[in-house]
């Protein structure tokens, strides 16, 4: 696993020096992250990198995971969809299941941190254990248009925290507690984002029987309705009428997402008659994801809702031209027609893909601008810095803080 100093060639020595300065200011504080799954999904991925790096910077960082069970995760998946504004039938029993499992976690999870950092709604009720320590709630979900009933239920917990953290300005709303904007990040040295030798990329394409004889359009995402894989196939079919190309839909499912299997089956059914559509289930195989992104001519991310859309940052970091929905944190990453193309519909996505496949020079320029933007704003070093500043801010009420 990469060390902090390994990032110097990418972000510069002084950027790493700043991180070390901040780490020194947090000596003596224990930071405890708590989420619902150790693997799968963006949160676990970020914590798997973030926790060792914070430790290396001298910040005493721990990571604990709550226990759930199938029923609990079915309910939290419904909550997740409802927070994204999707119509969900949520029963009284669902709230009871959430409360019962939360109560078990309240009894079993030790919240020893000086700062307890709770990720997403699943462990949110642990706030009942708040003592003299500081508590943060990190919302990774797009809550720009949430279901009122679920949001209202969660608000009873949220207001007890010291501060909340959101990934995009559109997710903020008037709250009686402080709220901070911290977009997530990608790790340029991880297996998913590091540069790969051409033979590795070719080997992955061979493994999945994908020939590089026509342009590749790819969406890398969990098989989740909010990622609209069926809409991606529709858009591809519209493009395919005019341009001889192929589509890759690749991704896994997270442990806390029971709906994923059903979505995967629906996608397979829709794609089965077309030999130019490759459906690939990739549970936690980062090198293969990386290779497929590098091999692609256009990356698409046609999400209906998106907490942030880390796959967009991954693709841009590889200087790939991207077509993505104008939702959630995606417009923070793509400035339309400068570092990618934003769309609002299947037809819009199809039109944008045709533009990029038809104008490789334009596509290349968008990709290069995108890489520069990700380098400046969405790498893990910026994320580490923001988290350390966030921790420090809990101890200073001012707008200008002197750490001299």
């Amino acid at each position: 696993m990469a060390k902090v100093e390994d990032y110097i060639p990418i972000v510069g020595q002084s950027c790493i020096d700043d991180l070390r300065l901040l780490g020194e200011r947090l000596k003596g504080k224990v930071i405890q992250h708590i989420n619902s799954t150790p693997v799968g999904g963006g949160v676990a991925e970020i914590l798997n990198r973030m926790v060792p790096m914070l430790r290396e910077l001298g910040v005493d960082t721990k990571w604990d995971v709550i226990k759930g069970g199938e029923q609990f995760f079915e309910v939290t998946k419904k909550f997740h969809n409802a927070l994204h504004g999707r119509a969900e039938e949520i029963t009284k029993r669902d709230f009871e299941i959430f409360t019962e499992t939360s109560q078990q976690n309240i009894e079993n999870v030790n919240t020893y941190g000086d700062i307890v950092f709770i990720h997403d709604p699943q462990p949110i009720a642990l706030i009942k254990k708040k003592a003299a320590n500081k508590w943060l709630w990190r919302c990774h979900v797009d809550v720009s248009n949430p279901n009122d009933r679920v949001w209202g239920f969660l608000m009873d917990f949220i207001v007890q925290y010291d501060a909340a953290v959101f990934s995009a300005p559109a997710f903020s709303r008037k709250l009686p507690i402080g709220q901070f904007l911290i977009p997530p990040s990608i790790d340029p040295l991880s297996d998913k984002n590091k540069e790969l030798p051409q033979q590795t990329i070719d080997a992955v394409l061979r493994k999945y029987d994908i020939k590089k004889d026509k342009p590749i359009v790819t969406q890398i995402s969990r098989f989740d309705r909010l990622k609209d894989p069926l809409g991606v196939i529709e858009a591809f079919l519209q493009v395919r009428k005019y341009i001889n190309c192929q589509l890759i839909l690749a991704g896994g499912t997270a442990e806390d997402d029971p709906e994923g299997v059903k979505v995967f089956e629906d996608v397979q059914e829709k794609a089965k008659a077309n030999k130019d559509i490759h459906i690939i289930l990739l549970p936690h195989n980062d090198i293969e994801v990386n290779a497929l992104q590098w091999a692609s001519d256009v990356i698409i991310q046609k999400s209906i809702k998106e907490g942030f859309g880390l796959t967009v940052a991954e693709a841009l970091w590889k200087a790939r031209p991207v077509v993505a929905s104008n939702v959630g944190g995606i417009p923070l990453q793509i400035k339309h027609k400068y570092s990618g193309l934003l769309c609002h519909s299947i037809e819009g996505a199809s039109f944008a893909i045709k533009q990029l496949l038809g104008s490789p020079g334009y596509a290349k320029r968008l990709g290069e601008n995108g890489r520069e933007h990700i380098k400046n704003n969405f790498l893990i070093t910026r994320h580490l810095r923001d988290y350390m500043l966030l921790f420090l801010s809990l101890y200073y009420p001012e707008d200008v803080i002197y750490l001299c």
Binding site: G12, Q13, S14, C15, D17, D18, L21, L22, R25, S144, N145, F166, P169, A170, S172, R173, K174, L175, G178, Q179, F180, L181, I182, N326, V327, K335, Y338, N369, E372, H373, N376, N377, R385, D386, L389, L390, L392, S393, D399, V400, I401, Y402, L403, C404
Partner: protein, 223 residues
């Protein structure tokens, strides 16, 4: 090359890191925008007039002003966008004065163009007010003369350059940028100090700004 003057008080390089705090306040129309600009904290105005400098280094020189960007790109009011983008930030010594200028520019425009009052942003394209929390830390780099000063300028982050040029002057309300102040007061070189405060830093990228300062200082050393 003349002998370098050694300062009694060295220049201590600091860096400025920032955290964005969300306010939950948003504007859909120009009327709401003007009203909230007058109401929000100075840290909000500072954020929206300086964010671009650090976040879009590759896009600069661009108007370092979120208000101008939103008015032009979202509401399609190009003329007002141009007026907001061309506000000469260097001329304002306090956030309060800058805020007054931005608000009055929008209000004057609305008085002359009443139809602009009925333009609305889509629900996902509203203007979200964000405030900037600054953290100021010493970097450990100290310069006693111009040679050390220019060598350190090559090493520090653009955040450090940013702090001493932009934040010290406008947010901390110093009469000029920190570099010019030190060179005049501690080295007694008013000519060089004047040279470092007469350009408009808002029209350059931060890397260009760094290179310009280094060139000016090195030219002075070589005289």
């Amino acid at each position: 090359m003349s002998e370098l003057i050694r300062a009694k008080e060295p220049f201590r390089f600091c860096t400025r890191l920032h955290l964005s705090e969300l306010t939950g306040l948003r504007a859909t129309t120009l009327v709401q925008l003007a009203s909230l600009i007058k109401e929000v904290s100075g840290s909000c105005i500072y954020h929206h007039t300086h964010r671009f400098l650090q976040q879009h280094q590759y896009l600069s020189p661009e108007p370092p002003n979120d208000f101008a960007y939103w008015v032009t790109d979202i509401l399609g009011e190009d003329e007002l966008g141009e007026k907001l983008a061309s506000i000469d930030t260097v001329q304002y010594s306090t956030i309060r004065k800058l805020r007054d200028k931005i608000a009055s520019t929008i209000e004057d425009y609305l008085n002359n163009n009443p139809l602009a009052k009925v333009k609305f942003a889509r629900s996902d394209e509203e203007f979200y007010f964000i405030k900037s929390i600054s953290f100021i830390l010493p970097t450990g780099y100290i310069a006693y003369d111009l040679k050390e000063f220019s060598e350190i300028l090559k090493k520090v982050t653009i955040d450090s350059i940013y702090f001493h040029i932009f934040e010290a002057r406008l947010r901390l309300e110093k009469p000029t940028n920190d570099f010019a102040l030190w060179i005049e007061r501690s080295l007694g070189d008013k000519g060089l100090a004047d040279e470092l405060c007469c350009f408009d830093p808002y029209t350059r990228t931060l890397e260009d700004l760094r290179n310009t300062i280094i060139q000016v200082v090195e030219r002075r050393i070589s005289v």
